[in-house]
């Protein structure tokens, strides 16, 4: 047992530092994807909420596609497809052009597309939960459109959207493990490398699982805090 724990030490003999770096990259990837995915989700939600049937159709089409495809497939399509597309485009200008798509960027784009599809549903429900009169009253007070959104619509929408978005985040955190398949040195891949050398798969994958668990637990603590803060204006029956 002690021998196994020794494998986790930092330094040249242990895998602790490599795995910690991988874990850091996993967090980096998730945090980079989050704003991208939410921005896409917001745009798609607004499209689905718009008056134009064309925009609504496009929004629904987007959601159906990226909610229905396996995340792994989306990742491959973005990574290999992007590579081929850019190579072909560059081929028009330079002969023998070959472009490597950065794996991290491909990961962010693919996970962002998926997160966008899922979060658009959450955001759409949240947008619709804010009564029309709120907006009308705010603009009757003379607030410009942007401030209506920032001061009136958004705080109410945020409260409704948070539980759903927290779910989306948890799913995203776990989905980041898929990028190890296209050779990004995230937690999963560093673990796989350690396993390759030490031949201790059970121990190392268990450690990786526990690290993911810690991330999940920490995120849910953050979300509990955020949700309490967002709903501080609301008193519930028997609530605090």
């Amino acid at each position: 047992m002690l021998e196994l724990l020794g494998l986790l030490s930092f330094g040249p003999d242990g895998w602790g530092d490599e795995i910690a770096q991988g874990a850091l990259l996993t967090i980096e990837l998730a945090l980079t994807t989050l704003p991208v995915g939410i921005a896409i989700g917001l745009a798609v939600a607004l499209a689905k909420d718009s008056h134009s049937p064309l925009l609504r159709g496009l929004g629904n089409f987007y959601t159906t596609i990226f909610r229905g495809l396996p995340e792994l497939l989306t990742l491959f399509i973005v990574y290999y497809g992007g590579q081929m597309l850019f190579t072909r485009v560059a081929g028009y200008f330079f002969e023998d052009a070959h472009i490597e798509v950065n794996q991290f960027v491909a990961g962010v784009v693919a996970l962002g597309l998926v997160l966008g599809a899922f979060s658009s549903e959450v955001l759409l429900a949240a947008i619709r939960s804010v009564p029309r009169g709120q907006k009308e009253a705010a603009s009757a007070l003379g607030l410009p459109r942007w401030r209506v959104f920032r001061l009136v619509t958004f705080p109410q929408l945020w409260r409704v959207a948070l539980p759903g978005l927290s779910n989306n985040w948890m799913v995203l955190l776990k989905d980041t493990s898929l990028v190890s398949v296209i050779a990004i040195s995230d937690l999963m891949r560093e673990t796989a490398i350690a396993v390759g050398v030490t031949k201790q798969p059970f121990f190392f994958y268990l450690v990786a699982c526990l690290i993911y668990l810690v991330f999940s637990a920490a995120s849910s603590a953050v979300f509990v805090h955020l949700e309490a803060r967002a709903s501080r204006g609301f008193k519930r029956v028997g609530g605090h």
Binding site: G68, L69, L73, I77, K174, L178, M188
Partner: protein, 249 residues
């Protein structure tokens, strides 16, 4: 029969050619893709079915079990819902390889030797955790009077669960259970990483040999068809099974 099938195949390929798809590629890999779909469906249906069986005791233990049982069930769900399926799959598949002598001793190596079995095993444990959570929500949303009335007419606790509580809990959880089935279809693509030739595995094989992006589009289409079919079927199922509930709404 054979000639009819051949004719159908040729007709299909001709049609695909008209759509501008790569007919040579499809002639070479088309049938393997169908095999892949079959493996994916087997993998998903088997795991979801076995997971459903496992989720029943897990959910009941969570609600009824004493301190120890309910906590054990909670820990189980927490672990499988909080970690990536990919990590769980590696844990089982490569972990089993590491414990080969021990597994041979207890006569289980034949099972874990096969990547497909490992995938079914992992997916079953994973989906059981999610399904148990859905069922628990259903059970806890029932008014206590349901149990009291069942006990009052003389049913044992076991009978009450089987005949009164669980059927209602499942009806309440029907929609999230359908979502879980869809999620499993998508997640099953992970099996391709441990050398299972499911739809994703076949696609990766075909791509690595042909370097034609088109195969990914076929896979995308096939996955979308599966997911949409399940969604539609589930809508009908839900409307039919919950038709007694629509009146009260």
């Amino acid at each position: 029969m054979q000639t009819l099938l051949d004719a159908l195949g040729t007709g299909f390929l001709w049609l695909m050619g008209l759509l501008g798809l790569n007919v040579d590629l499809m002639e070479r890999y088309g049938l393997r893709f169908l095999d892949g779909v079959q493996v994916t469906l087997e993998l998903v249906l088997l795991s979801v079915f076995l997971g459903a069986l496992l989720s029943l005791p897990l959910a009941v233990a969570r609600v009824e079990g004493g301190k120890f049982l309910s906590r054990a069930s909670f820990t189980y769900s927490y672990f499988f819902r909080g970690t990536p399926l990919l990590a769980q799959t590696f844990l089982v598949y490569y972990g089993a390889g590491q414990f080969r002598p021990q597994l041979t001793d207890i006569g289980l190596w034949w099972f874990f030797r096969d990547a497909f079995n490992c995938a079914v095993f992992t997916f079953t444990l994973n989906t059981a955790a999610y399904q148990a959570e859905i069922l628990r929500g259903g059970i806890e949303s029932l008014p206590i009077g349901q149990m009291e009335a069942a006990r009052a007419i003389g049913l044992t606790r076991y009978q009450a669960y089987r005949k009164v509580i669980l059927p209602q809990a499942i009806a309440i959880g029907l929609r999230p259970l359908g979502n879980e089935l869809v999620l499993m279809i998508k997640s099953s693509a992970i099996a391709s990483v441990i050398t299972v030739y499911d739809l994703m595995g076949v696609t990766r094989l075909a791509f690595s040999r042909s370097y034609d992006m088109e195969v990914y589009l076929w896979a995308a289409l096939l996955y979308l068809i599966m997911v949409e079919l399940v969604r539609r079927i589930w809508d009908v199922l839900e409307r039919r099974l919950n038709r007694h509930l629509t009146l009260s709404r």
